[in-house]
């Protein structure tokens, strides 16, 4: 009976048509999508109207977005290109958002409610200069706000209705570098001030309507300026002289320019260190920074300076906000222990506070980096203030009435590296919420049954969908049987580590790494990579898994490295090390010590190799394998690949047991005039390959050449390395190499004439797929190279194989000169590509899919069978049975095979695949500005029932069958008895 049921199920499953896409009601069941914007650079509030209150922000990730002020959700968002940095953002006419980007050369207007682009203007100028954007709101002519843009050495007046450039003043022609544009209240005039050279100060008075030059004054200041200006009032400026020790007050009232000098030392006693004027718009005051101090200095009278307040460096002052006719307010945020103190002051009265609040910060977000304030009228007609603050960890918070209204973790927009960690096995923690009593369970299943039998009413369908979506099963904090629940550990540019739950994408814990924070020791620390440091699964089960974070201090190649070890269950930093050496490469070895800590080699800029963990045990393990460990370095600029061998422990001043010298073993020098390295890719170290043999349709065997030490290198002619269109097809070629990194042997070389980069490639098992541009065909192409081991092909004697007399599984050395054959094929591909990945499964049995991140920020799944070099135009019957698809010149793009279905992963940078415990399934995490996670089964879930399988139906069927058996048995007994009596 059981086998029959099983066979029946098997039959049903095998009859099901092949579906790789999702149904509409499956969206959100196993995937999640999160949108982020990045660290906010500038914010403009829009709260005047009675409609939805919003804040418009521009970020360091080149995003402009409109956020809901109540919940912090995104109304709309635009991601500009990577080199289209935003310089300014403002609102014009109360309905357009104006952005200035690309160093003041592109001005765009976006519709405020829905984010549609209204117009775009290109402002050209002769040279690079500081850029600024200003909308003259007080000045209205024919219901038009004039936008004044300075940038590229020019000043432009632009109409805000259609983006028409009204006038242009080329000040670069007079070699004046524009520093500031100053609007004059209640008139249509503006002042433009700037420096010519170091010493000459220029002030222009310009009619904002037509660009007519009304006045032009110049004055010389013999000591020279350093180019920082603070506007104090509409006719007074403060600058620093070249020695940065004298503050110069510049007043240009009534067409006369006066300079007045004040020594900084006369204001502050301890004035050693570099002074800087911080950009601010405080009326009558400016901010000066010396060392770690921030000074607020007021200008009284015409040119008298007076120190108002001294703050430490962590204090942040907001821009000024006009709250009434003649009143202006600004905010000051200071740190105090776990709290931050927000004060809002009037600009003409320092000592009184409009608002003084202390806000408890529930988690360590670091220092406040920026604050923006906005006011609202309370019911009692007094002014209330809300403050938007940007923290060191790139998070964005809205504070109102002493509370955090909402909090956005925008560090997740800038992920550097991702790794995964298993969840705890502990059953005690797994208290399921919701669906826990029998009645609920039964109700749920009966609903599902109704759905299966098409009896469900529309309300029931909604209820079914709700049950499926909020299933508590997927968000539990324990390990599951199928390995679907994992922690995604991500390292972000902010130096903050997050653990995201793979079930629903929530942040389980986050940690702003102390070692990656700005400190006295390290001015600009950067995170580099994440590695799995300790993964206990056989030994040391009492210990939690941990990850290794590698960072370095500064951007130069010999900056000292920083290591940090973080427990992935608790999110606590276990240990951190400031290393005395730099880090150029990190090589995780295939060796672990008795506590399952993985051995890592850190190669420094001087090619010395350092072993971590620094324990005697690790050293012993390493020395046993010592002679078989090699490393290679790719110098893309010089087009050289070098192989190294580890020789002996370091000698000299860095003598230490865990440091090893390395020697050169081989080098491949590509001719610089004809080949430049543009990409390398090797196999993922965690990839599992199930078999070394590939069986073809005619029962023949091909042995795959499977080696972890293979490197795919793509080189192009130098002319073709810049960008598409830079080279003619005749002078552009692309070369693909397969190199053994132990011996430096080139196993395969291939030339694509008339092709050029950028090259995106993925290497898995014994094949490489790479994507490039074909200049002759004006199309993108994808090529595949498969590499087979010919020297094993003689193993054809069945009897030898039956009794196991073969050497197919004996360890192989790269030095045993392999005889390889390669097969390759090329296809046209419609899209340009941002990233390529391949699905990984636990045992490597399941067939593979390529995951292609397209230029439209979507992820496309392409079956590996489409990039099989054995495809022919007319495959034989046997080949068709094997699954070989007839050759076509284009790779098909099936709309249903978009993994991201209707969503976009804005700014897609990388796709990471992680095997689940269930062989058929792989977990996919794509990140960029947005995060997207889903589960894929390239050959469908052949090893489990689908999630919407109706167990109730199965149960009811079984019960009905058993009942039927009983009834018929009773009936037949009765009939037999009657027959006997007859």
């Amino acid at each position: 009976m059981a086998t029959r049921v099983f066979l029946l199920i098997l039959l049903l499953l095998s009859c099901a048509t092949s579906i790789f896409s999702l149904y509409e009601d499956q969206v959100g069941l196993m995937d999640w999508h999160q949108q982020y914007i990045g660290k906010v650079k500038h914010a403009v509030f829009h709260t005047q109207k009675t409609g939805r209150k919003r804040v418009l922000v521009s970020t360091e990730e080149n995003v402009i977005a409109s956020l809901d002020l109540r919940h912090g959700e995104i109304f709309w968002r635009h991601v500009l290109g990577t080199n289209d940095a935003i310089d300014g953002i403002d609102i014009a006419l109360g309905k357009y958002v104006i952005t200035l980007s690309s160093d003041g050369s592109i001005l765009r207007a976006w519709n405020l409610p829905d984010g549609q682009m209204v117009w775009e203007s290109f402002l050209l100028g002769p040279k690079h200069s500081k850029s600024s954007l200003m909308v003259l709101k007080t000045l209205k002519v024919d219901k038009d706000n004039v936008i004044i843009v300075s940038g590229k050495g020019c000043v432009h007046g632009v109409s805000s209705i259609d983006g028409e450039v009204l006038w242009t003043k080329d000040l670069a022609a007079e070699s004046v570098e524009v520093q500031q544009v100053i609007p004059l209240h209640d008139s249509d005039k503006i002042y433009v001030v700037g420096f010519a050279g170091l010493t000459q100060f220029h002030a222009y008075e310009i009619n904002a309507m037509n660009g007519e030059l009304l006045k032009h004054e110049t004055a010389d200041f013999s000591d020279g300026f350093v180019g920082e200006l603070a506007l104090v009032s509409s006719e007074t400026l403060v600058a620093l002289d070249t020695t940065r020790s004298i503050l110069v007050t510049v007043s240009f009232r009534n067409g006369k320019i006066n300079f007045h000098q004040t020594y900084i030392s006369s204001l502050v006693k301890d004035s050693t260190g570099i002074a800087m004027i911080l950009p601010s718009t405080l009326t009558g005051m400016f901010t000066l920074k010396i060392n770690t101090l921030k000074l607020i200095i007021r200008v009284t009278g015409e040119d008298q300076l007076e120190l108002v307040e001294k703050f430490d460096h962590a204090t942040v002052v907001s821009d000024v906000l006009s709250i009434a006719e003649d009143k202006e307010a600004f905010a000051v945020v200071q740190h105090g222990g776990n709290k931050i103190h927000l004060q809002v002051k009037l600009s003409d009265d320092w000592n009184s506070d409009l608002v003084k609040e202390s806000i408890e910060m529930d988690q360590q977000g670091g220092l406040v980096h920026k604050v923006f304030i906005n006011n609202y009228i309370r019911t009692d007609r007094s002014h209330g203030f809300r403050a938007l603050i940007v923290m060191e960890d790139h998070s964005l918070l809205l504070l109102q009435q002493g509370k955090i209204v909402w909090n956005r973790e925008d560090a997740l927009a800038s992920i550097i590296d991702v790794t995964t960690s298993e969840l705890p096995v502990d059953k005690a923690v797994s208290v399921a919420k919701g669906e826990h009593n029998l009645i609920d369970w039964l109700k749920g299943h009966i609903l599902k049954l109704k759905g299966t039998l098409m009896l469900a009413s529309p309300e029931d369908v909604v209820a079914i969908q709700a049950i499926r979506l909020k299933s508590s099963e997927k968000s539990k904090l324990t390990r599951d049987h199928n390995g679907f629940r994992k922690l995604l550990i991500v390292l972000t540019k902010a130096g903050k580590i997050f653990a995201l739950h793979s079930g629903d994408g929530r942040v389980v814990w986050s940690l702003l790494l102390p070692s990656l924070r700005k400190s006295k020791v390290c001015d600009c620390p950067t995170g580099l990579n994440l590695y799995q440091w300790q993964v206990p699964h056989h030994h040391a089960m009492d210990q939690n898994p941990s990850v290794l974070v590698v960072g370095k201090c500064g951007y130069s190649s010999n900056a000292p490295a920083v290591l940090s070890f973080v427990d992935t269950y608790t999110g606590k930093e276990l240990n951190s090390l400031d290393l005395g050496h730099s880090v150029a490469q990190i090589i995780p070895l295939a060796l672990t010590d008795s506590t399952e800590q993985r051995l890592h080699l850190l190669v420094d800029a001087d090619r010395r190799v350092h072993l971590y963990p620094r324990t005697p045990e690790a050293r012993t393990i390493f020395q046993q394998e010592f002679s078989n460990i090699y490393w290679y370095s790719v110098e893309a600029d010089n087009s050289i690949i070098k192989g190294h061998v580890i020789k002996r422990t370091c000698i000299g001043e860095v003598a230490d047991d865990f440091c090893f010298e390395s020697g050169d073993l081989w080098s491949i020098v590509f001719p610089l005039e004809s080949e430049k390295i543009i990409g390398t890719v090797s196999r993922k170290s965690n990839e599992v390959v199930h078999t070394q043999a590939k069986v073809t349709s005619d029962q023949d065997v091909m042995y795959k050449y499977i080696s972890k030490n293979l490197l795919f290198v793509a080189t192009v002619s130098p002319k073709a390395s810049v960008g598409i269109g830079s080279a003619d097809p005749e002078e552009a070629s692309l070369f693909a190499y397969l190199i053994d990194t132990v011996t430096g042997r080139i196993l395969h070389r291939m030339t694509h004439h008339g092709a050029q980069g950028p090259v995106h490639a993925v290497f898995s098992e014994n094949w490489v797929v790479y994507h490039y541009f074909n200049l002759r065909a004006h199309r993108y192409e994808m090529s595949v190279i498969e590499i087979y081991d010919q020297s094993r092909a003689e193993n054809k004697d069945v009897w030898k194989l039956v009794v196991g007399k073969h050497n197919l599984t004996a360890p192989v050395s790269s030095y045993s000169r392999p005889e390889v054959v390669t097969k390759s094929q090329s296809y046209f591909f419609t899209h340009s590509v941002k990233a390529i990945a391949v699905t990984l499964t636990a045992k490597g049995i399941t067939s593979k899919q390529l995951l292609i991140g397209t230029i439209s920020d979507q992820v496309l799944a392409l079956d590996k069978r489409f990039v099989d070099p054995r495809r022919t135009v007319n495959p034989s019957q046997a080949e068709k049975e094997e699954g070989i698809i007839p050759l076509t010149d284009f790779l098909p793009i099936i709309p249903q095979s978009y993994v991201t279905h209707a969503l976009k992963v804005e700014g897609l940078r990388n796709i990471v695949t992680v095997p689940a415990k269930l062989e058929s399934t792989t977990l996919v995490f794509a990140y960029g500005m947005d995060l997207f996670f889903t589960r894929l089964a390239p050959s469908r879930t052949y090893d489990s029932l689908t999630e919407d399988f109706s167990y109730a139906l199965l149960l009811i069927t079984i019960v009905a069958l058993v009942a039927a058996i009983f009834v018929t048995w009773i009936l037949s007994e009765r009939k037999e008895l009657q027959d006997k009596w007859r």
Partner: protein
Amino acid sequence: MGSGRRWAVDFTDNSTTPSSRDIPDPPGFTRASQDQDDSTTSRQKKDAEANWKAQKAWEVAQAPFKNLLMMGFMMWMAGSTVHLFSIGITFSALWQPISALQGVGKVFEPYKDSKVDLLGPKLLFIALNLGGLALGVWKLNTLGLLPTHASDWVSSLPPAQEVEYSGGGIPLH
């Protein structure tokens, strides 16, 4: 029919004493004459039965031949691709001869007789069943389910381990 009977009426009354019966012999019936050729008739009868048994045994022994033809036809119908139908047929083609071979003794038990030589029929029966088995195996092979190729033995061989380990890449920035 030997042991296969459940009841029998023996019309050959061999009793010699009429007194044992309360019914008198019918007129014209002489008990003595019957007694006289009793031994000859029983021998004849036994011979006939042995003949009949031998004949039957040969028939039983030839029965798998029809089966064989039937199987061949079914296999031809099933085709050479692996699916539920062809697998079912092949396995029944394998199972039938095996089960028949297991029960060779039982099949020929009714025909067991000291006078009947069952070796011939048995050998034929076994040969025909073996033929059926061979047909099944051949079918299995045409379906590609027999491990006769090198590919069947290496298809799940794990990749060989590598002696050397190498890592590295483009230096980090």
